[in-house]
Subunit: 133 residues, 2 copies
DNA sequence: CAGTATCCTCATTGATACTG
DNA sequence: CAGTATCAATGAGGATACTG
């Protein structure tokens, strides 16, 4: 109600001057979405699925160290955000596939860009850190 | 020791096929850096400083709801990572300015890209969420 | 195979008070 | 003004066991 972010944004014209302040206001729902995609398992799931469809067990293997609970939780959250598509085949034993939606691909690519930048610049960062201790 | 990420990366040639697996391994120091820049106050501080140099009190005002402790902590972490430059003038009362380093600008721009994408697509995301409930 | 249900811990966050 | 120190609370994340 008091949050008019959607109204402003839905105009499609995203003037930097106008909307830049929105991020800073708590309560903006974008903060929640941001957390979903940048938290440890969310990030890894998105990047993993950039390579294509994967089954639950594939993801479990790929995201080393993830617990079943955290993987389920992460996938459910991202599915509810519309980033991940879950397809369950009614067979025994169960067969469930996860893939990225179009929105999911778009955000995953941006996440990948960020991660790539960090990995490329890690040597510089670590060198700097060791210098200043 | 067991982590050869730096060695691989320092070659400068970042083959997607090779390094894409690195993110998934825990222990990679890039995970730490990623957390520093994507956590709530880290993100906001970086984006705020994209607009130019700010004083401690400016940031405190801009990052609504941040406690003094969290702001100090956030700024120190990002300074140690080499993203933020802290300039203290030896006057009374104290005067401290924060700005982005070149690395800081580069990563802040990528963070901004991500945040912008989310804010632009928020209406779609929220609409989707309300549909599936 | 693909989950759910419980219980637990400890790291992040924050409120408050104090200081050079 | 620009912090530090201390303590308290919340919840994200995880270990384990069980199920359709």
């Amino acid at each position: 109600m008091e949050n008019n972010s959607q109204t402003k944004l839905s105009t499609g014209s995203i003037s930097k001057a106008i909307e830049r302040g929105m991020v800073f206001s708590d309560k903006c729902p974008s903060r929640e979405i941001f957390k979903h995609v940048t938290n440890k398992w969310g990030l890894l799931a998105l990047v993993a699925l950039l390579g294509g469809t994967l089954r639950y067990s594939d993801l479990r293997r790929k995201l080393q160290g993830v617990s079943e609970k955290m993987l389920s939780q992460t996938l459910q959250t991202l599915e509810q955000d519309g980033f991940i598509i879950r397809t369950a085949y009614p067979v025994i034993p169960p067969h469930v596939e996860y893939s990225l939606s179009e929105m999911g691909k778009e955000i995953a690519i941006r996440m990948e860009t960020l991660v790539d930048w960090i990995e490329i610049n890690l040597p510089n960062i670590m060198k700097y850190k060791s210098k200043i201790q």
